[in-house]
């Protein structure tokens, strides 16, 4: 009676669903919308090209959500990173590397201050990071009210560079073979995903994120430093927001007050679609990657179907989120039983 068949962990279960969903949607889009470009291999790479920054930022969000917290300041800090890096690149002789360092410093500062307030002063994560979000946008306006562009030849050269993928490509209308291209930012995003996966899976720090998110009181009794773990999660999220913000700049080469509005919500929804529980303790970085890709492809499909109305992508995303939240609550109630 006590012996039971081993069932998959919640994390593994949700990950399987996310990946299958992505594959199904992608195959369907190739079958039904192949003539609108979905059968092109470049299309697949564009999914990454467009979403590299979001992937990195969503990884950070997944980590804080696994510990049972939240960070909605990442959109604001991204805008701040873009604008301040552009100002420094254009006017103060910054190059690629010094701009990257500036981005990381901004991200880490946000993470550290917010993490300290949340973990050690036990303030509500939502409120603290809401304040962080406003602060980020406010500082952008303080630095530069207008939209600005990068005017730094060496940075633009790097940003415009593409990796030519060998042997993969598409034949265009004239019958010429064009190799598929990948932005360098994607490489960084993929490295981040792999490192974070390793960190969550194989290190004691990563496992304590899960423990704290699962039951912080128990984690304390098991000898985990809960406050430090929470702080580390926010610090890590800040670091990833720094990298993500920089990738955002690297891709768009522009900055404005309204930039990346709602980016935090995109990251949160990608995390949830990727199988991260808002209540904490469950989630997987590869799930988050697929969450970003799934929202990305759905957006493309909705646009390709020809609907110019701006609400269809939103409604589709609402439906997806709804589906996953229902699924999660089923898992939660099963657990409570």
């Amino acid at each position: 009676m006590l012996k039971r068949k081993e069932s998959p962990t919640d994390t593994a279960f949700l990950l399987t669903i996310t990946i299958s969903l992505f594959i199904v949607i992608y195959i369907l889009s190739i079958i039904f919308l192949g003539d609108k470009g979905f059968s092109k291999i470049q299309m697949f790479f564009n999914l990454f090209n467009e979403n590299a920054a979001l992937i990195v930022i969503a990884c950070g969000l997944s980590i804080v959500m696994i510990t049972g917290s939240i960070d909605i300041s990442v959109g604001g800090s991204t805008a701040l990173i873009c604008t301040s890096c552009i100002v420094c690149l254009n006017n103060y002789g910054f190059n690629f590397f010094t701009a990257l360092i500036l981005a990381l410093v901004i991200g880490l500062t946000f993470g550290a201050v917010q993490g300290f307030m949340i973990a050690y002063l036990e303030m509500q994560p939502f409120i603290v990071t809401l304040a962080g979000m406003f602060l980020g946008r406010g500082l952008v306006a303080l630095i530069e009210v207008n939209q600005i562009q990068v005017d730094n030849p060496s940075f633009e050269l790097l940003s415009g560079a593409r990796i030519q993928i060998p042997f993969l490509g598409d034949i265009n209308k004239r019958g010429v073979f064009i190799q598929s291209k990948l932005e360098y930012g994607v490489v960084i995003a993929i490295i981040v995903v792999c490192v974070m996966f390793w960190l969550l899976r194989k290190t004691n720090l990563g496992r304590s994120f899960y423990a704290v998110g699962g039951n912080s009181q128990s984690a304390l009794m098991l000898g985990i430093n809960v406050k430090k773990t929470r702080f580390n999660a926010h610090l890590l999220c800040g670091l990833l927001a720094g990298i993500g913000g920089f990738l955002y700049l690297f891709h768009t080469r522009s900055g404005s007050v309204q930039q990346a509005t709602g980016l935090e919500m995109d990251a949160i929804s990608a995390s949830i679609i990727g199988g991260t529980l808002l209540t904490g303790g469950v989630g997987n970085i590869f799930g988050t990657l697929f969450g970003v890709l799934t929202s990305g492809i759905v957006l493309l499909i909705v646009t390709a179907i020809g609907s110019q109305d701006p609400w269809w992508p939103q409604i589709t995303r609402a439906a997806m989120l709804c589906f996953f939240i229902v699924l999660q609550s089923i898992i939660c109630s099963r657990k409570r039983k």
Partner: protein
């Protein structure tokens, strides 16, 4: 003579206004399973918390074998270092992690987790202790019993010498309890000293070697299990001597047998709180009581009737008609009132005024979209404030500023206002002064004489004997007897609880 594993000497601990422990001694030997027993407020959990460093003690000494000087235990982590581990009723593991992770997480400061090594070590530990779980299984997929065993395995693997099991069996079924006992015997044979805190007499007699009984923060005594029959144990826990009790029984008020109308009847009722199927009848104009030790299922029975716990089996009939009560609101609409045991948590809403608290239940029955006017509510409040003699500055005073006894009266007023046919009072007199106690007892008798059917639950036997005309006796979640009329004596109750038939 063997050296004891753990000695606690002359332990004192007080909280503001309460002396929780006074001059308590406790001794534990290697390979001994030692029960710690006592009623509510006896000081069991305080003693455990002092031992595990949750509370600092005010006086006394703790000795552990192998350490010459008395030890100072400052925190649960510190207790771990001295080889003292606790497994609580509430599982203190992480449900989202695997079994193996729960065994090892937080125990070293290494950067990396070696899953292979952990899983194979976990496999070994689980096998050795006979725990039916796989290391890679997610903990929440295991039954509660297995989760408890994993918690024990963790403690054992951390080289604990003293294992405290704080009511580990409360949420286990019989089979699971047997499994747990097997594990406890295995640990006993390894020389671990186990402190077993439980409410269940049967389980205690099945597994323990010695018993320490506490009452009111004082040590009653330490006994060998063989030397202490159940009746004596019950008497010691309740603080009564057998035989020399004056019969203070107040004669039952309802003698006119033929006019007895059944208000409520349960047939084989059981709920998810673990209470076993029970039959119960409450008559019009009668005060019934549920008696038993703490944790015997007194409150659980009435919670099932009121729909506060989920009913799993059996039926409830009201005046002969079968009803389906799935929530407290439905019970209220059928004319049942329930004054809960824990008024702070289940009853009073401290920030609302006396008036609002009184009108609350009636308002809920009427529906919140048809509010009473202030004048109506004020009239209700005034009526009951004077009827129950509630001492409050005005009906607008927030309830939290009233004394405990008056808060209790406010909740009572709330239920009386709904004019229930059947009123359940679960420990209505706990923690209130003697004068108010008597007032409430008198009120209960008056309500019954006016035709209400009342069920009265109290931890104090005298109080039950004074107010009730029929007593349902419970032990270990079973109804074990029903006493009426002349049978209602303290001795008889204790014998029934202990499961001994004294009549021959």
């Amino acid at each position: 003579m063997q050296e004891p594993l753990l000695t606690m000497k002359n332990i004192y601990k007080s909280f503001p206004g309460v002396r929780a422990l006074q001059n308590v001694n406790f001794t534990l030997y290697e390979g001994e399973i030692h029960a710690l027993m006592g009623e509510n407020g006896a000081g069991k959990s305080t003693l455990i918390k002092v031992l595990t460093g949750v509370y600092p003690m005010d006086g006394g000494e703790i000795y552990i074998k192998g350490e010459n000087r008395p030890v100072h235990i400052k925190s649960p982590q510190d207790a771990h270092k001295h080889g003292i581990s606790t497994v609580y009723q509430e599982i203190t593991l992480c449900p989202n992690l695997t079994v193996a992770e729960n065994l090892f997480i937080g125990r070293n400061d290494e950067l990396l987790v070696d899953w292979k090594k952990n899983n194979s070590r976990a496999e070994g530990i689980l096998e050795e202790l006979g725990i039916p779980a796989k290391p890679t299984q997610q903990l929440s997929n295991c039954s509660i019993a297995v989760q408890q065993m994993v918690a024990i395995a963790r403690a054992v693997d951390m080289d604990c010498k003293v294992l405290i099991l704080d009511e580990p069996t409360s949420s286990l079924d019989d089979q699971e309890v047997t499994k747990l006992f097997l594990l406890m015997r295995e640990l006993k044979s390894r020389g671990v000293g186990i402190i077993f805190v439980t409410h269940f007499l049967e389980q205690m007699y099945a597994i323990c070697d010695k018993i320490t009984v506490l009452r009111g923060g004082e040590l009653v005594g330490e006994y060998k299990v063989m030397d202490l029959p159940r009746v004596e144990l019950v008497a010691k826990m309740m603080g009564k001597e057998l035989g020399d009790l004056a019969d203070i029984h107040n004669k039952a008020q309802t003698d006119n047998e033929n006019t007895k109308e059944v208000i409520i009847e349960t047939v084989g009722l059981a709920s998810n709180s673990g209470v076993k199927p029970f039959d119960f009848k409450a008559y019009k104009g009668e005060v019934t009581g549920f008696a038993g030790l703490l944790g015997s299922g007194r409150s659980e029975c009435v919670r099932a009737i009121f729909g506060a716990d989920k009913v799993t089996k059996g039926k409830i009939k009201i005046k002969g008609n079968e009803v389906n009560i799935t929530s407290p609101l439905k019970a209220m609409k059928k004319g049942i009132g329930y004054l809960p045991e824990d008024r702070g948590r289940d009853g009073i809403i401290g920030d609302l005024s006396v008036r609002e608290n009184i009108v609350l239940a009636l308002q809920a029955m009427r529906g919140f979209f048809r509010p009473f006017t202030k004048a109506q509510a004020q009239a209700f409040a005034d009526e009951y404030i004077s009827l129950l003699n509630i001492k409050t500055a005005s009906a607008d005073t927030p309830v939290k500023s009233l004394s405990g006894g008056n808060q209790q009266k406010v909740i009572l007023a709330r239920w009386l206002l709904t004019h229930p046919d059947y009123l359940i009072l679960d420990e209505p007199t706990r923690g209130i002064d003697i004068g108010t106690k008597v007032e409430i007892q008198k009120l209960v008798l008056r309500l019954a004489s006016e035709g209400m059917s009342v069920t009265f639950i109290s931890a104090e036997i005298e109080e039950m004997l004074r107010t009730c005309s029929r007593l349902i006796v419970m032990r270990d979640l079973f109804v074990v007897g029903e006493l009426e009329g002349d049978d209602m004596t303290q001795d008889k109750i204790m014998y029934t609880i202990a499961g001994v038939n004294k009549s021959e």
